[in-house]
Subunit: 397 residues, 2 copies
């Protein structure tokens, strides 16, 4: 467990919104929660800034909190409504299959959480639990079975696999049509290329961008720094930010002056797995921070003996940034919401089902030309992103 610590005070985290000088620019875009210093029970209020306003400088040395936990709840409610609509309309529910090999301690938390999340939105979950000494062929046999099963729309192989297994060949065996984790190179390639659309977007980086969207934080033309270049978060997050017309820089272990580069960013996505690595001095005043890190650090005050912190020193960030995610309760809950979203997307694509009610409200077509296509032409299955507040940013192709 890491020992890194940046501050003992957490008071600034709950600094009251009502004292903020920039409250005047708040717009009623979405109803999102804000923690008050007077209470730890979140109260809902209008929080999002107008997409067209410049990023805000935190004049009162207290950043807005980007509440992933509550946004993910909103999203799960939306998924639930879509799943119900799908069941009613075509009698089909999305299905997610999870393959677990071995008995790692952390599986005991992650796997039931995924199962519960599926149940809560009406997605069917299928689970295969194999012993740690299983042969690779056995895992592949189950993957093939799920690939062919029409009730399964998403397949997830819980990582890490036991060391005697070839992770790459096992993941490659998952049909790209059901690769809801979106780690297939074909998906990543399409994500990188202009004019192409991936079948799925990796869950955690998709959750990061979704948080920015839901809080109305403009990305286009902004300077964005991604800290970390891993396949699961950093690299796809950078590709997603670039698709949204941010100017990206990627900081990694070989970067010689990470602090200086990070300080140039309007938007920081930190996904490096180093507790409190990003200090207040790394942050440009007014920057927005999405902290993907979930690192346990010793904490004698906690009954568990540890607490979870992010890659960004939260207390210091709050004094400089205009908005930041907390850890826990920030990006973490978004990942599982995006997994459910990808499973729903897959089921809708398989059954050519579209939530017409949502599209009528609000949508943006995602094409190279940024052309807005009339609703009638949606039946041509043009690649698009649904941006309605009642649905998700589901990428179709």
């Amino acid at each position: 467990m890491a020992l890194s610590e940046c501050s003992t005070s957490t008071a600034s985290r709950f600094f009251p919104m009502s004292l903020r000088r920039d409250a005047a620019v708040l717009a009623p875009r979405l109803s999102l929660p804000h923690r008050s210093c007077a209470s730890k029970v979140p109260s809902f209020r209008t929080l999002a800034v107008r997409a067209s306003t410049p990023l805000l400088v935190a004049s009162e040395a207290c950043a807005k909190v980007i509440h992933g936990k509550y946004v993910s709840k909103l999203i799960r409610d939306e998924i639930s409504a879509e799943v119900s609509g799908m069941k009613e309309a075509i009698g089909v529910a999305p299905g997610l299959a999870v393959i677990i090999v071995g008995d790692r301690k952390d599986f005991a938390t992650y796997v039931p959480n995924k199962k519960k999340a599926c149940e809560s939105v009406g997605i069917n979950s299928f689970e295969v639990h194999l012993p740690a000494d299983s042969k690779e062929e056995e895992v592949l046999k189950f993957i093939t079975g799920f690939n062919d099963d029409p009730l399964v729309h998403g397949i997830l192989v819980q990582l890490p696999l036991p060391s005697h297994m070839n992770e790459q060949s096992i993941l490659n065996a998952v049909s790209i049509e059901k690769d809801v984790d979106a780690f297939h190179p074909l998906n990543i390639g399409r994500l990188a290329m202009r004019g192409r659309e991936p079948l799925f977007v990796p869950c955690t980086p998709k959750g990061c961008i979704e948080l920015l969207h839901r809080y109305g934080i403009g990305i286009k033309g902004k300077r964005a720094v991604v800290i970390g270049r891993g396949n699961i978060v950093g690299m796809p997050a950078a590709l997603l930010l670039q698709r949204e017309d941010a100017t990206i820089s990627i900081v990694h272990s070989r970067t010689q002056n990470p602090e200086e580069i990070t300080r140039e960013a309007d938007i920081i996505i930190a996904a490096v797995g180093q507790p409190n690595m990003v200090r207040g001095s790394w942050i440009k005043p007014g920057a927005v921070i999405i902290d993907v890190g979930i690192n346990p650090v010793e904490d004698s005050k906690s009954s568990r003996g540890y607490k979870l912190v992010g890659d960004v020193c939260y207390e210091e960030a709050c004094k400089v940034a205009s908005a930041t995610t907390p850890v826990p309760g920030g990006v973490g809950p978004m990942t599982i919401a995006m997994l459910l979203c990808n499973t729903l997307t897959s089921a809708k694509r398989t059954h050519n089902f579209q939530c017409v009610g949502c599209f009528r409200l609000y949508f943006t077509i995602r094409k190279t030309s940024s052309e807005i296509v009339q609703e009638d032409s949606l039946s041509t299955r043009t690649a698009f992103t649904c941006r309605c507040p009642y649905s998700l940013n589901c990428l179709f192709s």
Copy 2:
């Protein structure tokens, strides 16, 4: 034709190497050409800086010239030697098929050039020339034929295709095993992902990185700015630089302060198609510039009425940068050399042929762990990059 002009003087381009104060740090890494102001006939001399030395400041206001034309000649000689070795050893020559649809003026230059280049190194070339009003099915029929032809190891569809054809579905029809242009999303995805290796690397960005390697210009830990984010050059160039541990930033049409960001770069790759867009004021003293732009601008002094210039104002760059490619004679000739390289790579992979003599000299294994694998284990076809001066950086997988 563009009218942009940044200087009428080209004298600095041919500034004599012997007057450079930094000549003391030159190391005998490779014998590469340098143009002297006394003669337009290139003379070969030791030019490359030590890979371990920091990038140089151009103390005499005259950048080194990175001679793509001559490096590409060296590479073609190396390919020629490898092709001869392959023919002798297994009786097989690599084959490249080119499909042309229509009669665009520029095809009359490009296509014969490719054919000549193939012939010059012993690669068999196959050509299909279809009329502009051909049906898509006819093109697909020829692609299928070449996909199945064991004499063909690389297939190139000359772009642009006539407007009535679906470029994406035609390019997707090329077998990924023969996609020497390397534009398949699966290749791009593997290029983006750590621990994965693409079957091929797109020719122009591969040529850019090869120039840096051949001139011994260190990339690891350097700040690199790529101007342009297109699928053909900018995006894959950024991915390649990141694979080499550069810290990348990508500047594009939506970037708000391109000059400021570009000025942070130790290495600039400009691939935007805007004549002389990058001025001297955009360049950090001592930066290295790879200019991919080839833009015609009016020139009354030329018998053709125009001249070709890059995306970077060459005369101004020469006063600030430590090294730069000229236009023409820089990146352009490297693209076709890399196409030949990819075709050779494909043939070697198909026939499991390895140039053992080269590997004995010098090689680097490219794995996630950066582990150096013993020569004996090469027969396991581990993904690796050959870095020997007698061969190419061929990516196997």
